[in-house]
Symmetry: C2
Subunit: 403 residues, 2 copies
């Protein structure tokens, strides 16, 4: 027991900070969307800019995507087929998966969320069904996303499992030398900032046959040709020793999650996943609204608008880095962590920022280590230079006062 | 390893039947919806009635629910808030959870699917956070749904775990005598038919303090006052030693899943779940289309239309039972299993039925035991008597020929 999880202990450790944060009014804000990442609190009418929105390209309120969602519901006349997707599916589901496969040149299947994608694919990878029948040694990066870590007990029931330090390529190579089949489980872009050392990992793949599993929830759309993300942009294209899961909310601006199973046109691997991939087998799917949004977003990703939005995002990242240097400055990614340390000071700072019109997420254990609290900021293409400048000024002023 | 799962072994056992079924054209039919559970295959224009649709009241194509979905997307102007629901949520999410709490007189939270509800609540229950800090002995019914069983490794990392025979109340009572805290994990209505012995389980709860965990994915809407399902209808109302998860697709006709945490107005339990319940903590939520559908369906559940639809469903169940007696006849539930035995004969029968205009799901291992294959039928309120009569006639004729 408690080999991987200890919910009671986590609850005890995080309890005080949840209470403080809730009292500070920094949780559960019910708000109307005003577009461009702006919200109005329904409780008091207070308007604020969301500085921690993961809609990196601003696609969540893109008129074409919202309309795509509405059109698909109307066209299919229902939110789902009321039968497992394995049996009867709407054209919207086929078309959305075809569009994703085409866009990223992969074999894509969709599920209800990125976490469901982890559930569908991690035990499957551990089973050995994707590695010639041999369960690989499953090596987790210590900082892999919570939804990957939460699958550890399931993975450990199918394969040997170990966890290594963050981005520790040397330790990983040692394991590759000792074991015939190794799979590495990591985020492409980490939700608290930074990315995987993809080039070095590809070198291990080339040399030792390492299988690579990436969560690209924060990489897709944000960077890369046609928004293919940090991993595929470095790889050039997927291969059959790599599996990528992603969110289709977040940067992509639609709903649900996806699994990129390998090269486009891999019917055998697709069948293995659909027949044995947990949530894929049950009645799990993105509803027709989400599928319509996926289709519209995929079209937008193929258009000239995408590089334009990516350039605007990069310009905003550069502006932010020039005004408020952090440990992550210059990495070209939109996630910035402003280290504060004390949980209390972090909450007070966030509260003061909100009063001045900016929501910035206070982040603490179990998302990151205890005593390392701070603000997670997420830059967007649809922030104005004036917003970023004013926010940085306010943040610096308040940080000097509160910390 | 393989204490709970063995995906490679399951894949080997089920492989041949998947192949046969796929060759027979009984999987992955891409179809347009024609309303009233009717579909048209896009490949060949063949029209058929879905005799295995879990939209028991026919709500999946109800105009008010479909319109509710569209209206909510338009009103919020996005599919989600692009931030964790714990931080900023739309009014649609608050309103949908309030409406569910009100409708079923429970403390309801929503998640992306019923499986996500299992993930959010089973390890939480195992942790002891819902049972005064003591992790309960987690007793699974052998026939509990796959999505509950798939959580066994996670549960076993938090609490002792055992599995008992289907509906074995005596074995459960023995365990209650031996252990101070016991939780029983079962379906309210089983996806392959039949239900939990709720009255006897309540007796054990009364006598020994047994905690009851039910998956009511197939019970909600289908039966009970205002569609509260088989469990709540028997209980009269939820109590704080009972937790219910459900789908909001299926009978409810919307999208996603829900957790009924206890009595309405249980903010402490709600906080415990939101802060420690896996998928509830991440960016998991029903999109605004699904939430709009939930709101519209909740309103419909409070109207005079619901008992009318439930009566139509009961009439159809009775008609079916009179024409084609099965082991489940007379239980008042819409799921009927027509036992065939041989996997091959089952597939041939289903194929012949589809040619005659009826889709009936062939069910086999791992959903049920090997060599016990058959057709899973699901009756709906929006089937005509003529449809049911003709289907039963065809099924009997073909069964005599194929089996």
């Amino acid at each position: 027991m408690h080999a991987y999880m200890n919910i009671k202990k986590s609850a005890r450790i995080s309890h005080d900070f949840w209470e403080t944060t809730t009292e500070a009014g920094m949780f559960d804000i019910v708000a109307a969307g005003l577009g461009e990442g702006r919200h109005r609190s329904l409780a008091d009418g207070h308007e604020f800019v969301n500085m921690s929105s993961y809609s990196y390209l601003g696609l969540d309120t893109h008129p074409k995507i919202v309309q795509g969602a509405i059109d698909a519901v109307r066209a299919e006349g229902a939110l789902n087929t009321s039968t497992s997707r394995m049996r009867i599916r709407f054209a919207a589901l086929r078309d959305a998966e075809d569009a994703l496969s085409e866009l990223f040149d992969v074999e894509a299947v969709t599920v209800a969320s990125c976490a469901a994608a982890a559930w569908a694919s991690l035990p499957l990878l551990a089973s050995g069904l994707l590695t010639d029948g041999t369960p690989p040694l499953m090596v987790f990066d210590k900082n892999a996303h919570f939804c990957l870590n939460a699958m550890k007990p399931n993975v450990a029931d199918e394969a040997p499992l170990t966890t290594i330090r963050h981005n520790d390529v040397d330790a990983l190579e040692d394991l590759c030398r000792q074991h015939p089949q190794v799979a590495y489980i990591a985020d492409g872009v980490y939700s608290t900032g930074g990315k995987a050392p993809v080039e070095e990992l590809l070198r291990l793949q080339e040399k030792h046959g390492l299988f690579l599993f990436f969560d690209e929830a924060h990489g897709i759309s944000t960077v890369g040709e046609r928004g293919r993300g940090a991993v595929l942009e470095t790889m050039g294209g997927i291969n059959d020793r790599t599996l990528i899961i992603t969110s289709l909310n977040k940067g992509f601006g639609a709903s649900g999650g996806a699994i990129f199973l390998g090269r486009k046109g891999s019917p055998a691997r697709r069948d293995v996943a659909l027949r044995n991939g947990g949530p894929l087998m049950w009645s799990q799917r993105i509803n027709t609204a989400g599928l319509g949004a996926v289709l519209a977003s995929a079209e937008l990703h193929r258009s000239d608008e995408l590089p334009l939005l990516q350039r605007r995002l990069q310009r905003n990242i550069d502006l932010f880095d020039s005004l408020l240097p952090t440990g992550l400055s210059g990495d070209g990614l939109p996630i910035r962590f402003v280290d504060i340390g004390s949980e209390d000071a972090t909450v007070r700072l966030a509260q003061a920022l909100l009063e001045r019109g900016y929501y910035a997420s206070p982040i603490f254990f179990p998302v990151i280590a205890r005593g390392k609290a701070g603000l997670r900021l997420m830059l967007r293409a649809n922030m104005s230079a004036a917003e970023i400048e004013d926010f940085c000024r306010q943040l610096k002023e308040l940080r000097d006062r509160h910390v």
